[in-house]
Amino acid sequence: MTPEGISELISRVSLRDRAAFDALYASTSAKLFGVCLRVLGNRTEAEDALQDIYVKIWNKADRFAVAGTSPISWLVAVARNHCIDRLRARKRVSTDLDEASDIAEPSANPEQSAIAAGEARRLIDCLDQLDAARASAVRGAYLNGDSYELLAQRHKVPLNTMRTWLRRSLLKLKECLEG
């Protein structure tokens, strides 16, 4: 479905149109379930999360109009934020580490092969200008919901060093994107 089609469905959902909600679910749930599986890395939890996410979408659809983002970005953001909040609510970081290692990295970099639009291309190009390890930390954080704590453990550096490191990367990214 086109972004315009999805936008229209979200707008109708904000007017409490259940048929539009059914259609929105039918056309977007696979994508958002993919987000839940990737971030949570656990099928049962991903199924619970997906329910919560569509309840949120029904309740917050009126916010989409003021968000000013593309409809898919908005839906993915609702899903990612919910899953990351769940992830952070988990107790021990070591659990995150164990589970994170079980999550298969996508083969052959689908995020690169599938992206065509100029805007998207630009972010990928700018990421490529970063040091490879930093680019992969940024990409991994976005797709897996890695926390500073987890990244610091993985790279065996103090948390504050990790934060400085990543913030510098974000600044570079921003200069490139807006330069």
């Binding site: 059914d22 993919g34 510098r168």
Partner: protein
């Protein structure tokens, strides 16, 4: 010009916090604080939105995976209090129903025709039909993409009968129902429409699902109860 600071300082500022929030690296407490600011501080909210747009470029990295069928029923139950439905087939004889449906479709086709006269033909469109019926727990959604000529149908509530087939029909105006095929899975069944049939699918056309013997209607016309029907709408 470079805004990269010297090596011994931690860069700071709202824009970076917004980026960290979107990236997802913050701890629980920091995330709560950022979420609170999004609600109360429009400037901060705009920074978050902009990073969301940037990083949205990575969204293709999330591979779509069909969600289990039961989830939509649970969502509906939580939102609307509807019971997670099971299929108890109401066998209301369908003749009157089909007549009414044909009439409704005819009226809608006329409206649609009138609209065609005043509007120039548009680019390839998407069509959606939400199919329901009184006394039936089955709710389905059909989405048609004119470009690919593919019609995707999902059962969002209710179950498919184990010992019968659900057959999908297209009813254009007052014409006889045309079979589009059988539902193969409650998740998503894809129908590729032949050109002649695709040409009939437009705003106002009716789609309906009937219960048929396994393998589909033996006569080529619907024979069993209609468990869901709806009007196609362009979106």
């Amino acid at each position: 010009m470079s805004t990269t600071p010297p090596d011994d300082t931690v860069p700071d500022g709202d824009d970076l916090v917004a980026a960290e929030y979107v990236l997802g690296v913050l701890a629980a407490e920091e995330r709560r604080e950022a979420a609170r600011r999004i609600e109360t501080d429009p400037t901060f909210a705009r920074l978050v939105t902009r990073w969301q747009e940037y990083f949205g470029a990575l969204d293709d990295g999330f591979e779509p995976v069909s969600a289990p069928h039961y989830i939509k029923g649970q969502v509906d139950h939580r939102l609307f209090g509807t019971d997670a439905p099971t299929l108890a087939m109401p066998l209301w004889t369908s003749l009157a129903f089909w007549r009414g449906l044909a009439l409704a479709a005819l009226v809608l086709a006329m409206i649609g025709f009138g609209r065609d006269l005043i509007q120039p033909p548009s680019s390839p469109a998407q069509f959606v039909a939400s199919m329901v019926a009184d006394n039936s727990p089955v709710r389905t959604v059909a989405v048609y993409d004119e470009q690919t000529k593919r019609l995707k149908v999902t059962v969002v509530a209710g179950d498919m009968p184990p010992d019968r087939s659900l057959e999908l029909w297209l009813i254009a105006g007052s014409e006889a129902p045309v079979s589009l095929g059988l539902m193969k899975s409650p998740q998503v069944t894809e129908f590729t429409l032949p050109q002649a049939v695709a040409a009939k699918l437009r705003d106002g056309t009716t789609l309906a699902l009937s219960v048929e013997p396994l393998g589909g209607s033996p006569s080529g016309a619907p024979t069993g109860a209609v468990v869901a029907a709806g009007t196609v709408r362009a979106i």
